[in-house]
Assembly symmetry: C2
DNA sequence: GTGAAAGCGCTAACAT
DNA sequence: ATGTTAGCGCTTTCAC
């Protein structure tokens, strides 16, 4: 293994000074054409790569953003991540990823570790544990140290920073309206994420839609859990009771379990029972029948979050009168085969 | 925004020298207890964080590994990634991720960009385009610069480096044997990834199993494609022809399409037709019926790759007589509901 | 047009 | 026990 090529070495071999080499490689007008060309050719030949560490130390920035997400195995987060990565890359930024695994400890540790000059800013989706315990100090400290944070999806209302969210309440509201328009009256609500803010918002959308349509709320049709543990049993009872003609399932697990149990009980979908879920596009299409879902626009969320963060990083100066933005990404119902068609009804 | 706290500032405020502060914070025995305590308390109070850039520059290492994968939306890669992240974290390493999106250009660019001192080594799963064009120079150059690479799953035979793979041929062989043992005779082979080395290996396992069981190979039962484009049509014809009693689908798309079409054609699974696929565990379970798959042990692959790379990074010295390893992760058939039970037959 | 020197934040060998 | 100094690789101001 050969030792790394540095400016110093080039200077030595070419009999010039370090600063001349630096200037030449950076196309400074101070350097004469002949020397500049000579140096550049030599550097190219030897495959010189400026050490980014040294450069970053000099410039006090890293061109790196830290992404902290609860779980990369969740396709939604994977999609957001790919959006972040793409946008960051376009702007010459690297992405360091930490998976909090829903643990507050891991999340805090990641932030502490990376906020020592390793990254210029963070994109975060708050871990479940953090959200439950309503702890925000690690975020606030980081921001007060001048390291910007952008939150997405799982945001914390008590932290002052840029945020990117989906209009969960509104989109749930419209999904229920759609079910009602296609003739459904007994609509179940399924949730395994009632501990998360997004879970509550989606449930609120369900409740509001029923109320505005003057449909009485039947508590027996509502399953709101924090875990998947006893969810399946509760769902089985609900399906067995045969009182419902539609299901609104607001997370991946409940969406797919609803499909599975409906099929196992011999229901025709969507004739006997309509299902709307929250799930990843690819897999929703792969189910039989394909599952109508509320699309979450993962890549767009990631892109927008990265855009916000990078612009924040580049404009460090004017943080005095900066107004933090909350960008809302529009969503819509992706109508597939688990719901009745509206057009064919009227 | 307050400016970052440095050793220099602490030294100034406490009226000692920079090196004293440095030594104190690093628990050097040279420093007396009183001063050490005084300095440490002050640092803690002011929330001092040593600048990692400066440290890394000094030590000529970054404690960061670069991960280059074709596609984070593929659950297999997401799983491997989570394994890498976990193991890296355990060892105090950060992970910078680049998604090649199967493009050679992007892959090369990522490697070039990061091999300037940003990362200490790479974990790579080769992009499709790179594999097709059999180009390896960017890998070789990086290795010759003293930056180690570990490849997984999509490996390149022509690059000398550590590798982590799954025994694709062997596991496919055994999957087919299983189908045969449960009474299947007309087994179809479905592939949308025949351009990838792993795709070919899995197909080879299929062929060898048939031959060793003296089952004639029926070309009509074999669909090997490089893309998903005309795959669905070909599959539809194959299923419509009603000649097969089992399907071996070696990628996610073909696995799920086989299920979907079999169901749509009114086949009972596994009574009329058995299906074995390659797909992610969670979603395989969510399908109805749940899909029997060959497990790929993503997290273990990631963990092993990270372990190999980190040990390589830590032992830079002895690269002369180093023998590159290829670690093979064992796989097995995850028997679910899309295949007949073996135990119930005998 | 080229070079010397200082400095980014940190460590460590070498004084004192 | 504490301080001085040089240096990691690079940029940049200031001399020449």
């Amino acid at each position: 293994m050969k030792s790394k090529l540095t400016l110093k070495q080039i200077a030595l071999e070419l009999g010039v000074s370090v600063s001349t080499v630096s200037k030449a490689l950076n196309d400074s007008a101070e350097i004469s054409d002949p020397t500049r060309i000579r140096i550049k050719e030599f550097a190219k030949l030897k495959n010189y790569k400026p050490n980014s560490l040294a450069k970053n130390l000099k410039y006090q920035r890293t061109n790196t953003i830290g992404v902290i997400i609860p779980n990369i195995l969740n396709p939604f987060f994977a999609k957001v991540f790919s959006g972040i990565e793409k946008e960051a890359n376009k702007n010459g930024f690297n992405v360091i990823t930490c998976i909090s695994n829903e643990s507050f400890e891991k999340e805090k540790q990641a932030i502490d570790l990376l906020s020592n000059g390793t990254v210029d800013g963070f994109i975060v989706s708050v871990a479940e544990e953090t959200e439950l315990n309503k702890v925000t100090s690690h975020f606030k400290e980081t921001i007060s140290e001048g390291i910007p944070i952008v939150m997405f999806d799982r945001i914390s209302d008590f932290v002052n920073c840029d945020k990117v969210i989906v209009d969960d309440l509104e989109s749930s509201f419209e999904a229920i309206n759609y079910l009602i328009k296609t003739g459904c009256k007994n609509i179940a609500l399924l949730s395994c994420i009632d501990n998360l803010s997004v879970g509550k918002l989606r449930a609120d959308g369900y409740l509001r839609a029923l109320m505005e349509n003057n449909i009485p709320i039947n508590e027996n049709f509502i399953i709101r859990r924090n875990f998947t543990d006893d969810f399946d049993d509760a769902l089985k009872k609900l399906i067995d009771a045969k009182g419902i003609d539609a299901v609104f399932a607001i997370d991946e697990h409940s969406s797919t379990m609803a499909m599975k149990m409906a099929i196992q009980n011999g229901y025709a979908i969507p004739e006997d029972i309509s299902i709307i879920g929250f799930a990843d596009g690819v897999w929703s299409r792969r189910l039989t029948p394909s599952l109508s879902t509320i699309s979450q626009h993962g890549p767009e969320i990631g892109q927008e979050a990265a855009r916000l963060l990078i612009s924040k990083i580049k404009n460090k100066k004017m943080d005095d009168d900066y107004e933090y933005k909350t960008v809302v990404i529009k969503t819509e119902l992706r109508q597939r085969d688990s719901t009745k068609k509206l057009t064919s009804l009227k």
